[in-house]
Structures are given as C-alpha cells and as structure tokens.
Amino acid sequence: MKDRRDTDRLVQAVQLIVFASVLAAMCVLGLLFFLRPKTSLQENRTLTEFPAVTLKGFWDGSFFSGVDTWYADTYPMREEMISAQKKLESHYGKRGTQLVGTNMAADAIPVPGADVTPDPNATPSPTPLPTPTPVPDGTVHEIGEFNNGIYITNGAAYGMYGFSQSGADDYIATMNQIYQNIGGKVNMYVMNVPISASVMLDETVWADMGCSDEGAAIDYIVGKLDPGIHALDVYDTLRQHNAEYIYFRTDHHWTQLGAYYAYQIFCQEKGLTPHTLDQFKTRDFGAGTYLGSYYRSADQSPVLAANPDTVHAWYPMCVNAEDSTDRDMHMVQRDGSEYDWRIINDMFDYPDSEWYCIFSAADQPFSSLHNPNIHDGSAVMVVKDSYGNAFIPWLVDHYEYTYWVDFRYTDETVSHMVETYGVQDVIFEAATFNATGDLCNDLYLSIGS
C-alpha cells in the first residue's frame, strides 16, 4: 500500500513536470520574437502586426485586443499547428464527401429577356456556334463532402455560386456605360467565366445545396448587355468539355485547357482561326505537389491533399519556350516597380500553393507583350481577374501587342488606356462571382468612368 502511495506521489510529480515543461516550452516559444512569421502562405495574407501604442487604443482596450490577436496570429510554428489541427478535424466524421462552411443566400435569377422590351433596331445576335461534336460527359453526379462554402467530392473541391441581383445589374450597367464610352472606337467583348461547380457537377447536386444556376446568371447578364457588345458565352462549351481537365481539383481557377475553349469561342466571334493544341510546346509544373486555394479554404482537406493538381502549360508560339532566361513580356507591379518577365514563367520555383501564378505574371495592374512575329499594329487589351491569366497566352499569337490589366489593382480608366495604347479590341474577362460581386463593382465603376 505504501508503494502505491509513493507511486501516486511520483505520478503527481511526473504530471506536474510534464505539464509545466510543455507550458514553459510554449511560453518560451511565444517569446522568441525573431521566430514569429510575418506572412501566411496557407492563407495568402500578411499576418497581424503588433498594434501601435496610442492613448486612445490603451483606454478603449483596442491596443490590448490587438496584442492578443498579434500574439496568436504570429505564434511560431502556427501553420504547422494549424495543419495538425486540420488533420485532426478530418476525423470528425465521414468526410469522403464534404462541405466546408456555409452557402450564401442567393437572389432568384430573372428569366432572361422577360422584362426587356424588344428593340426593333437591335443588332442581330452573334452567329450561333456550330453544334459541337459530342464529347464524353464528365459531369459528377455524386453527392460529396462539404467544407467553408466548399464542396468536396471525388477528390476535387467546388465552390458554390450565389447570384446577386443588385451585383449583376450594377455590372451590366457598368459594362453598358463603358460601351457607351469606348464602343465607337473599339470592339468590346465581355466574357464571364463560371466556377468549376457549375461546369463539372450535376445540376441537381448544386441546386440541392441552394446554389444558383450560373448558366442562367450568365444568360441574364448577356441578355441585358448592349447589343453592340460581343458577349462570349463560354458556359455551354465548358460544360460540354467537362470530362477533360479544364478546372483544377484543388484550386478555384480553370486550367489553361479550360481557357483554350474560351479562346476558341473568342476566335469564332472575332472571325479568327484558332490554333490547335498540337501547334504549341508544352510543359508541366508542380506535378504531384500543387495544392491550390480550395485546399486552404477547405481547411487543408486530406481528401484534396491526396489529389494534387498539375499545371499543364502551353507556350505561345511567339515566345521562346526553350530558354527560360528569355523574357518576353513586361509588367508593372502594384508598388510601381517594373520588370521584364515570362508569360509562362518557368524561371523560378513557386511554392506548392502558387503554381497558377506562372501564367501572365499573375495579378498585376498592367502587363504587356510584343509579338515580334506580327507587324500590323494590331493590339488587344484584356481587362481581367485571375481567370484571365490562363487565357492571355492563347491570345498573344494573334496580335502584335497584347496588354492586360487586372481591374482590381489598376487606377487607370479603360477609355484612357484604349487611347494611350491604340487598341482595337478590348476583352472584359471576369469570373461571374467577381463580375457580380459588390466589392468588384466599385472597381469596375472606377475603371469605366
């Protein structure tokens, strides 16, 4: 009995030592300020900075809450600890099929043209595309996993689209206003890119989750654009090709192949002959390691970790695909600094989460490429979001000058840029969720003014 009492005391001592050691180690780790990270690769953001000391902040407590947030947000080894936590959470239930987060409340989509009085003087609609050759159906019909507004099934993640009536109407009004400003000088094209869920999933799956019909949303937008605008409706074409690798599994973007089908539609509308895929040199990036934005938004889902993506890139014919030091384009960054760059950037190793950034220098305020093989003064400008990055490399072989601006980061107006660079074609590319998002609308208004 005495031995047991001694052992009990020993257990208490060991418990105290182990607990105190862990507490002390974590305390010391937290005090090693030089180990504190400043940015998070997983979350693609700058971490919280130590708050400024002000009398007001001290008095109302905001300084102290700032210290609290800073301490936790920049704790050394934070990302490793979060990854461990996410692995633990992956065992919270049956997560072969998963939903992360909540769906948004969406507006009902009006029937296209239902409230539009027919205009007898309207320009005829663009010539319909020829009936496409039947292709294998890759539609995913299964119910999958759900995680932060992200639906996961069959090893791939899908965001959920919610239509905003006011956002769509603002976007339409802005596009029509821009057309009024520049329509007489240039050909204006508008393209809205659907997210992967709308293209890859069975409509009953996303409809059952309360998502909006993105095809109907695009139809609504197209139906209300000024008839003089060339609407590039890529939805049906992408859906017909959904058995192919046209969207990433772990990232919210389309692949360059998905963008290729949009390029074909542009060529159809523009009257160009699209190049065929076998005309281009190709290379794979990030094979077996690329885990994109959905992976992080879906709490680092192990299902996605087991299904990494590969970025399959096609080099424009006008650039040197062989020499990675040959810089073919020019970009202006958000801080005003300028660099020569490569439109398919194979000069550097990207982090595993950033492989989509190899296209078109990613999201910069202004970029341009001069095609040395064309000397006709032709020029196109793409006003785009990140989906446009994979689209631009297809275009550059058709123009002497290609300019592209990310509407989220530029201060220039479209009218001014059109005049400055003497472009003949302007393509407004935006994912539908961006185009109709309240946040982006102010930006559209500023560049469209």
Binding site: D8, Q15, F19, Q42, E43, R45, S62, I82, H91, R95
Partner: protein, 477 residues
C-alpha cells in the same frame, strides 16, 4: 482577456503561477494576485476598471456601515448599498434596453445613449451583493481592508465568467492558503480538461451551430427543419461545453493557487426533470436567486398564488440577468412556466409515473428548445428559426447540405455528447478501481494521469492558434 487565448495560456497564466509558487507570504501572494487580476480585467479597456473599483468601494463601505450600525439602521444600509449596486448595473446593462422599448411605444427619447456593457459586471455585482447580504445576515464579518475585498471581486479566475463565488467560501483562502501537491495535480487536470473542452469541443460545436442558426434572415429562412434542429443540438452542446469549461478552468486555476471554488455544473443534461436541471446548471446563479431573492420573498412557504408569483419573479430576473433583451426574458419565463407545471400540475407523483427515459428525453427536448430562444436576441430571427424548426418556412424537412454537415461531423458530435455525460468520470473511476487489483491497469491509470493534462494542453493550443486562421476569399487572390 479570455482563458481560451494563446496569450493567456502561454504568457499570463505561467507568469501568474510563478508568482504564486515563489512568493511565500499570503500578503505577497494576494498583492500579486490582485495585480494580475487588475491587468486581466483591464485588458478590455482600463475605463471599465474604474467602475469595478467604484462598485467595490461602495460595497466595502456599505458592509462596514451595516456591521457597525445599530440594529435598527442595518437594514437601511443594506438597502442603500444594494440599491446603489443595482442602479449601476441597471444603468450600464438595462437602461439602453428600457429606453429602446419606451421609444418604440412613445417615440421618446429621440436619442438613445450608446452604453457599452462593462465586461463581467453581472458576475461581480452579484458577488458583491451576496457579500453585503451575508454581512447583514451575520454570516461573515465585513472585510475592513479595501484591497482584499477588491481581490475577492476581481479575482481573474471567476471575475468575468463565473462561477459567482460567495465571499464566505473564499474568505479563509484569501487570508491564509496552502498549496498542496494533490490539489495542484487536481487543478492541473481540471484546467487542462476545461481548456480542451472549450477550445476543441465547444468551439467545434459553435462552427456547426453558426452554419445553421445564422444571423441573416434570408439565409435562416432557407434552413430546413432538420437543419434548425441540428443547429439547436449543436448550440445546446456548445453552450454547456463552453460555460462549464470556463468553470472547470476557474476551479482548476483556483486549486493550483490554493483557492477553492464550488462546483458550478453537475452534468445538467442528465437531469430527469426541469427542476433537477436547474439544480445542476449554473449552480452558483440559481443558488444566488434561491438564497437572496426566492427565500426572502417567502419561497414555497406560502400560498399557491404567492408561490407562483415568487417563482415568476425569480425566473423573470434570471432571464434578465442573462441579457437585456426580450428573448432572455422569454427564456426565463419559459423555464418559470415549466417549473410551475412540474410543481403544481405534475407534482412529484406525476413525474415518477413517467418512465426515466421519457423524463430524461423530455427534459432534453425542452432544454434544447430553450436554447433556440436563448440564441436569437433578434425576435424576428427567433420567429424565423422557430417556424423553421416546425417546417413552416416551406423549405422541406431536410437537405443534402444538412445531411452532409451531419455526416461530416458525426464522430465529433458523438464525442461532444459523451463529454456532456459523466461517462469520462466513470471510466476514470473504473480504471482506478481496476488498478487496485491489477498492475497493468494501475500503470495504465498512472500513465494517463501523468500525461493527459499536457496532451490536452497541446490539443487546445493547436485549436486556439487556428482561431485566427482565415483562408483567403476569392477576391483577395
């Protein structure tokens, strides 16, 4: 500052424990504890500290007046002191609510002052009132040293989230306390269990509840009946795990420092009646209302009508205590009505007539329903949620979203349910008893006891550090 923050667990707490271990005299320990408590309280803004200091000053002075006054004046000093406390609480917690309702009825006043609720005011006001009342009753002597009464009211273990500690329960510990290895061991275990309960289980349940019981009317009205039910169940688990976790941590930290607080929860979801539920839920609050409101009003030693009145007064006040909003009053009166039915309609015989499983299931249903009332301070949202629960929002019985959310979290929800029962405690007892007869179980128990606090601390840290995890939005990319 809150217990479930990295800064508290890995900086504030170690520093506090070091001060309590290495300072030897009770006076030095108390001064250090007071300094830590004031810093802890000031974390939300030092301006609230002035109010706390003022309230303690009133009660310190009032209690001394009560003790020193002739018998015929003692009651007057009690009334003055308690009234001052209640007026301050009323101004800071209820004035805005009152004026909003008056404005809705009469149109005046035109402007309603924006009064910020000082953190913990409901807890420390009740603690101080209990102290003054106990001095009046002669159950404790008035504390003549102001800063010791301030230490009692501001002790960071329980100042902002309870339990409501009676002065007579900690008076001896404040003046002379000893720290024993056995209590430190129990305190470490209790704190670690509470921290993990909060960071892992309660926060996990909150994620599920917040996805379904949303604060946007349009989205809420689209949640089908099973979604509202799943959200209510998750919130039921969350609120117990969260609140009891804070009490666990307070009790645990107290034991590590030689301070003893009473239990505040006793597995309330195991209750067989609503009356029993309130004997097990937030015990320090229900016993406060019993001892300082219900019994002084006459309690149950009076006619049925008066008993009913006393009951509803207590439950109206209980609801009001939880927040200045109609839903809390409704929530309190809902429980008042249930308790009245149990006492005056069913009676003890009537309740015994029902099988145990029916009584237990009935209490769980009634309590879960009550938490929906508790959840929504906006009465419009509350109406939408209640309609949704009964399928009156015309959005069906369930959806794939709800079933998917359930399947994605089924093991976690089972674990959370188990954590609300005494199963863990029972398993620990079984392991300990087996260890008395079998060396293998003895050592298994020993290893568990030695390692589980540290393991739970690491688990909690993993969960807490990710609280600021914020995967980027589309636009930010």
């Amino acid at each position: 500052m809150v217990f479930s923050s990295m800064l508290f667990v890995f900086l504030f707490l170690p520093a506090n424990l070091i001060s309590q271990i290495f300072l030897t005299s009770p006076r030095a320990k108390n001064i250090a504890m007071l300094a830590f408590s004031l810093v802890f309280y000031s974390w939300a803004g030092p301006r609230y500290l002035l109010l706390l200091l003022g309230m303690v000053l009133i009660c310190w002075w009032g209690a001394i007046r009560i003790e020193d006054a002739p018998d015929e004046q003692r009651r007057l000093w009690l009334i003055i002191t308690v009234a001052l406390c209640l007026v301050i609480l009323g101004v800071f917690k209820y004035l805005g609510f009152l004026l909003r309702n008056v404005q809705a009825l009469t149109g005046v006043p035109k402007v309603i002052p924006d009064i910020v609720l000082p953190i913990g005011i409901s807890f420390y006001t009740f603690q101080l009132i209990s102290y003054v009342a106990d001095v009046y009753r002669g159950e404790v002597e008035a504390q003549r040293t102001y800063w010791l009464l301030l230490l009692y009211a501001s002790l960071f273990h329980q100042c902002i989230a309870g339990p409501i500690v009676r002065y007579k329960d900690v008076n001896d510990d404040l003046t002379a306390r000893t720290i024993t290895p056995g209590e430190v061991s129990a305190g470490i275990s209790r704190f670690a269990v509470g921290l993990a309960k909060k960071a892992v289980l309660a926060n996990g349940c909150a994620v599920i509840a917040d996805q379904l019981l949303v604060s946007d009317a349009q989205t809420l009205s689209a949640v089908p009946a099973m979604g509202v039910l799943l959200g209510a169940v998750a919130f039921t688990l969350q609120i117990y795990l969260d609140f009891s976790a804070y009490s666990d941590m307070a009790i645990g930290m107290g034991l590590m420092c030689g301070l003893h607080y009473r239990e505040n929860f006793n597995y309330p979801y195991m209750s067989g009646s609503v009356t029993e539920f309130w004997r097990r839920w937030h015990i320090s609050l229900s016993s406060f209302f019993r001892d300082y409101v219900y019994i002084p009003l006459g309690g149950s030693r009076c006619g049925t009508g008066r008993q009913l009145l006393n009951l509803f007064v207590v439950w109206f006040l209980t609801g009001m205590w939880h927040g200045a909003s109609w839903n809390f009053i409704l929530w309190g009166l809902y429980f008042g009505a249930l308790l009245a039915v149990e006492r005056f309609v069913l009676g003890k015989e009537g309740q015994r007539w029902l099988p145990q499983i029916v009584r237990h299931g009935g209490v769980l249903i009634l309590v879960t329903f009550s938490w929906i009332i508790f959840k929504f301070t906006d009465m419009g949202l509350l109406g939408t949620a209640l309609k949704g629960l009964f399928g009156l929002n015309h959005n069906g019985f369930s959806s794939s979203t709800v079933s998917l959310l359930f399947r994605n979290n089924i093991y976690f929800l089972i674990l959370a349910c188990v954590a609300c029962t005494p199963v863990g405690k029972a398993l620990r007892t079984v392991l300990r008893n087996l260890g008395r007869r079998n060396a293998l179980f003895y050592w298994l128990n020993a290893v568990w006891e030695a390692v589980h606090p540290a393991a739970l601390l690491v688990l909690a840290a993993m969960a807490l550090v990710g609280d600021s995890y914020n995967p980027f939005l589309y636009f930010q990319f």
